[in-house]
């Protein structure tokens, strides 16, 4: 048996991390959490997470940044806002999850082959380029990059969609791409 220590040293945490989360929209209130667990109780995904939403809030507040950003939890959040509307302290947990996703991407600590983050980036690029999304193409791209075997199991699905007129690989585009470019250029965060 491989015996590992479960102790956390204070050097593993930093107040800077807490401050950074709190500086992002929605993160302001994490220190108000009373650890009641309502968020995890209502979260439809909490049974698939490695850390419950409550634990994420707690660890973010304590400043265990690495562990938080490496957690699968932030990528399992589907932004259903159940936690946000139920939290007795008014903490915008969904927005905290968003903030953590972005922090993970900025630092490159996210699971590289984890489809959720891959999809987010492909989606992002498609919008940047065309102004609109083609779901069929997006699905294709994600499968190819992460789990191409799924294309086979999903072949039936593709056929069904074609039959019902819901499948198209034609890329929808907006007309004023210049307008879009100028909106998306400038002082956003570097990609």
């Amino acid at each position: 048996m491989n015996i590992k220590q479960s102790i956390r040293y204070d050097s593993e945490r930093s107040n800077e991390f807490t401050k950074e989360v709190m500086a992002r929209p929605g993160g302001e209130m994490i220190q108000a959490c009373i650890q009641c667990g309502t968020c995890s109780g209502v979260c439809p995904m909490s049974n698939y997470m490695d850390r419950t939403p409550r634990q994420i809030i707690y660890m973010a507040r304590e400043g265990f940044g690495d562990e938080v950003l490496r957690s699968r939890t932030i990528w399992m959040c589907t932004s259903c806002y159940a936690c946000t509307v139920e939290c007795p302290r008014g903490i915008k947990i969904t927005d905290v999850m968003y903030a953590l996703k972005r922090m993970a991407m900025e630092r490159g600590t996210y699971p590289q082959r984890f489809p959720t983050s891959t999809m987010a980036r492909d989606f992002f690029n498609m919008v940047r380029k065309n102004g609109r999304i083609n779901e069929s193409r997006l699905g294709f791209l994600v499968f190819l990059k992460t789990n191409w075997m799924r294309l086979l199991t999903s072949a039936g699905l593709g056929l069904d969609l074609i039959k019902t007129g819901r499948f198209s690989l034609k890329q929808e585009q907006i007309k004023s791409k210049n307008e879009l470019n100028s909106i998306l250029s400038g002082n956003g965060r570097p990609e």
Binding site: T78, C80, T84, R102, S154, L180, R189
Partner: protein, 294 residues
């Protein structure tokens, strides 16, 4: 009254039946929906996960165009994902001056102005509040008698911004279906998330959620499920077979609430896009009608 209309990417793709039925129903009720000129993707969950600042600017472009072209008109947004993203943009810009500044500058670069005066509304909200159940009842020519419906609201239509209904226990659709003559079954999962894009990215999770939602509706003896969101409909309809293979047999058609409304108003199945369902609702509808006749 005229409304501006933001379809979003899904309603032009896999959710075409939603657009078809929304437009047909509104047209039948004499309400004009005018599509926003050259709209772009709202950004959705994914864009927000990568670059929040610009995701708001991206969403705001649509709001600015709507405000410029139809300053008096609320914006109708059928897709729950778009609905929450656009609403969030309005709220965040109000709450965070720095983001407002950012968004204003970005729009400025594109020569757009935005005063944040266009309310973003869901068709369910417009139908319940502005049109009202009385007018809806008047328009019913083929009551949905005998049809048992599980109303499925999903998450983002009621959370976190919508004020027209309860965030955990909404009842708008329930009341609407009862007005159409249908029976609404007790469905405790009415606002449980469908898993969103998990069906694609974490299938073992996404498919299980799909299975649980469908199975519960079947257990409650619903003939079909009604939804308000193209993503929910896609997950529950398109992944039903795969979910059944993975977790057990289940057969539960899922259609849009506007399709049910259209049917009760006597519009044709074709016009409402019912043929686009993978798990067809036609038998369920016929069966219920037959049962009611008996």
């Amino acid at each position: 009254m005229q409304y501006s209309y933001y379809p979003g990417c899904s309603l032009k793709g896999s959710g075409r039946a939603y657009e078809e039925s929304v437009l047909a129903v509104f047209d039948h009720l004499g309400i004009e929906l005018k599509e926003i000129d050259d709209w772009n993707c709202c950004g959705a969950t994914a864009y927000m996960s990568v670059d929040e600042r610009r995701s708001f600017a991206l969403a705001a472009r649509n709001l600015a165009i709507s405000e410029r072209d139809m300053p008096e008109s609320p914006m109708v947004v059928p897709c729950s994902g778009c609905y929450v993203t656009l609403n969030k943009t309005c709220h965040v810009v109000k709450d965070y001056p720095a983001i407002k500044d950012d968004v204003t500058k970005a729009l400025d670069r594109a020569g757009l102005k935005w005063k944040n005066q266009v309310p973003v509304r869901h068709p369910l909200d417009v139908l319940m509040q502005d049109v009202g159940l009385d007018r809806i009842k008047e328009a019913v020519v083929k009551p949905l008698k005998g049809l048992k419906i599980a109303p499925y609201y999903g998450c983002q239509i009621v959370r976190p911004y919508a004020e027209f209904d309860h965030q955990i226990h909404p009842t708008s659709m329930d009341r609407m279906f009862e007005a159409l003559g249908a029976t609404v079954v007790h469905y405790p999962l009415k606002t449980k998330c469908c898993g969103g894009s998990m069906t694609g990215t974490a299938p073992e999770v996404g498919l299980r959620l799909v299975y649980l939602l469908l199975k519960e509706a079947a257990k409650r003896e619903a003939d079909l499920m009604a939804t308000v969101c193209p993503l929910c409909q896609f997950n529950l309809d398109a992944f039903a077979k795969e979910a059944a293979r993975a977790y057990g047999p289940v057969n539960m058609p899922v259609i849009y609430f506007t399709q049910l409304l259209g049917l009760a108003m006597g519009l044709s199945e074709e016009k409402l896009g019912l043929q686009r369902n993978i798990i067809s609702a036609k038998n369920a509808l016929k069966g219920a009608a037959a049962a009611a006749a008996r």
